[in-house]
């Protein structure tokens, strides 16, 4: 799975943004509404225009069309096709790639089984609960066999029990498949439970990066990993909660900066 690099990205939200998502990691982008989280995902997908370069494994993909980037994207509002039943929604990407009916049926069945929604196969989106819709949308995103998975606040409309269940499911699938994943949220619990690394984003700028990597230590700008992940996570959360740039500067410890 590719390492994603964003170099000198600029548009109406970002100015000279640089960031990296490592091969197979789950990066959480944490930020308030209007921070630029969805725009960040849209840049990786190529759905919005931008300046700068997006690289997958060091290869620029700026000129690669969205439909050729091999990305699985779970939209904030899920964007299920209302005119297709669950099986057709999940099998959509397979059908347009010209796969045979039997193959599509088999792969769809496997994905529905993985998401534990086999019984919903012939239902239309309007007849699904919030949690069921999330699972269908995730199955649909995974059907493309994506190299990159982008999740845009997928648990927004769900109760805490369903959130917990889906958080585990997504984490499990992501680890098993080793898909490079960017998970966007404004929910601290989601960020804490799911992220290998957490990036705090506000007003189009990265304010803080916290990492579980390197033996549960925090990546710093000088290479020291002196602070525990939990401590640094709280710095990131403080940064996120306080909101202004000045607050970020004063709230975080130097060890947490990147």
């Amino acid at each position: 799975m590719p390492t994603i690099e964003l170099k000198n990205i600029g548009n109406h939200v970002f100015s000279n943004l640089n960031m990296k998502v490592f091969d197979g990691e789950l990066l959480v982008v944490l930020g308030p509404n209007g921070a630029g989280k969805t725009t960040l995902l849209n840049i990786i997908t190529g759905l919005v225009s931008y300046e700068g370069t997006v690289l997958f494994d060091g290869v620029p993909v700026d000129k690669t069309a969205t439909n050729e980037r091999q990305i699985g994207y779970l939209f904030q509002n899920l964007a299920l096709f209302p005119h297709l039943d669950v099986a057709s929604n999940v099998g959509y990407s397979l059908k347009i790639r010209g796969k045979k009916k039997e193959e599509i049926a088999q792969e769809v069945d496997e994905l529905l089984k993985l998401m534990k929604i086999e019984h919903l196969k012939h239902r239309y989106p309007k007849n699904l609960s919030g949690g069921e819709k999330q699972r269908v949308a995730l199955a649909r995103a995974l059907a493309t066999s994506p190299k990159v998975l982008l999740l845009d606040e997928p648990f927004n409309s769900l109760d805490s029990g369903m959130c917990k269940c889906l958080r585990r499911k997504i984490r499990q699938i992501q680890r098993e498949m080793g898909i490079t994943t960017v998970f966007v949220t404004h929910n601290l619990t989601d960020a804490e439970e799911m992220g290998d690394r957490i990036v705090a984003l506000n007003s189009g700028k990265i304010k803080q990066v916290t990492s579980k990597m390197f033996n549960d230590a925090t990546a710093t700008d000088n290479g020291n990993h002196s602070q525990s992940f939990q401590d640094c996570l709280h710095c990131t959360i403080d940064c996120y909660c306080k909101g202004t740039e000045e607050d970020y500067e004063s709230a975080d410890s130097p060890a947490c900066r990147m």
Binding site: L47, A79, K126
Partner: protein, 267 residues
């Protein structure tokens, strides 16, 4: 419950017919001016058995089908182009905006000279009648498709053409069918008008001949046939739309406006 709802629908019609029959039997107005319902039904039988009604109906039906199918097909094709490509929309929008407000029968004198008084005249008028509403409903349907759904299709690997055929057009169907449904009835009104003015065959021509002979019973039979045909066409498209969008729920339900539900929610 079902019987009750059917009765609620039929009862006013029965009451109307009884009042009509009673007034006609009072002989307040000469029967050739205001025939009774029973006299109209007897005339309907005679026209049907003699084949006069069927011949004229088939003439009108052919014109309606030809004009409506051609006009709707053209409206859908141009609507798809204008709805999906902005430069096509910008190119055609000004000319269509100028032509759309012209009443269809306003074209009749011009078309009589250009085309002549023949079978093509009502077909051309119905073409114009069907084209514009279907065109604008198709554009509205396409432009109304949720952008997120289109983005989702794109991330799932669909090309522009695939997105149009597999997502945009199916989701625009409720709007397209609204245009078809409304114009299906309108096409019948136009063909009757064209036949009254220029064509010697068809239901409209039968009506205008009956008027000169003071045969109000025949005129009323024609009006009844016209009403049934308009209703049948509208209901046909409603049926097809429901069959296609069955299960989608949200799209057609959201697009349809229910006065009763709106009032309840406001309360």
């Amino acid at each position: 419950m079902k019987i009750k709802s059917v009765l609620v629908g039929i009862l006013p019609v029965i009451v109307f017919v009884i009042i009509w029959e009673c007034i006609a039997q009072l002989n307040l107005v000469p029967k050739y001016i205001f025939p009774s319902f029973s006299a109209v039904m007897i005339e309907f039988y005679h026209l049907a058995v003699s084949g006069v009604l069927l011949d004229n109906l088939l003439s009108s039906l052919f014109r309606v089908l030809a004009g409506f199918l051609l006009g709707s097909a053209a409206g859908i094709v141009v609507g798809i182009g204008m709805g999906s490509k902005e430069f096509v929309n910008k190119s055609f929008h000004p000319i269509f905006s100028l032509l759309y407000p012209i009443p269809v029968l306003g074209w009749a004198p011009l078309l009589m000279v250009w085309i002549g008084i023949n079978e093509l005249l009502p077909v051309a008028l119905i073409f114009l009648c069907s084209f514009f509403p279907v065109l604008y409903n198709t554009i509205t349907g396409i432009k109304g498709v949720d952008r997120e759904v289109i983005k989702a299709a794109r991330t799932l690997g669909a090309s522009d053409t695939k997105i149009l055929t597999t997502v945009v057009l199916p989701l625009a169907i409720p709007n397209i069918f609204t245009g078809l449904r409304l114009e299906a009835g309108m096409a019948w009104r136009v063909v009757i008008a064209a036949e009254m003015v220029a064509i010697p065959t068809g239901i409209g021509a039968l009506m205008i001949r009956s008027e000169s002979l003071l045969r109000m019973d025949v005129i009323i039979v024609c009006l009844m046939v016209l009403s049934v045909m308009c209703l049948t066409f509208e209901r046909f498209f409603q049926f097809v739309e429901r069959r296609i969008t069955k299960g989608w729920g949200s799209i057609s339900a959201q697009n349809s406006w229910n006065f009763e539900q709106t009032m309840k929610s406001e309360k």
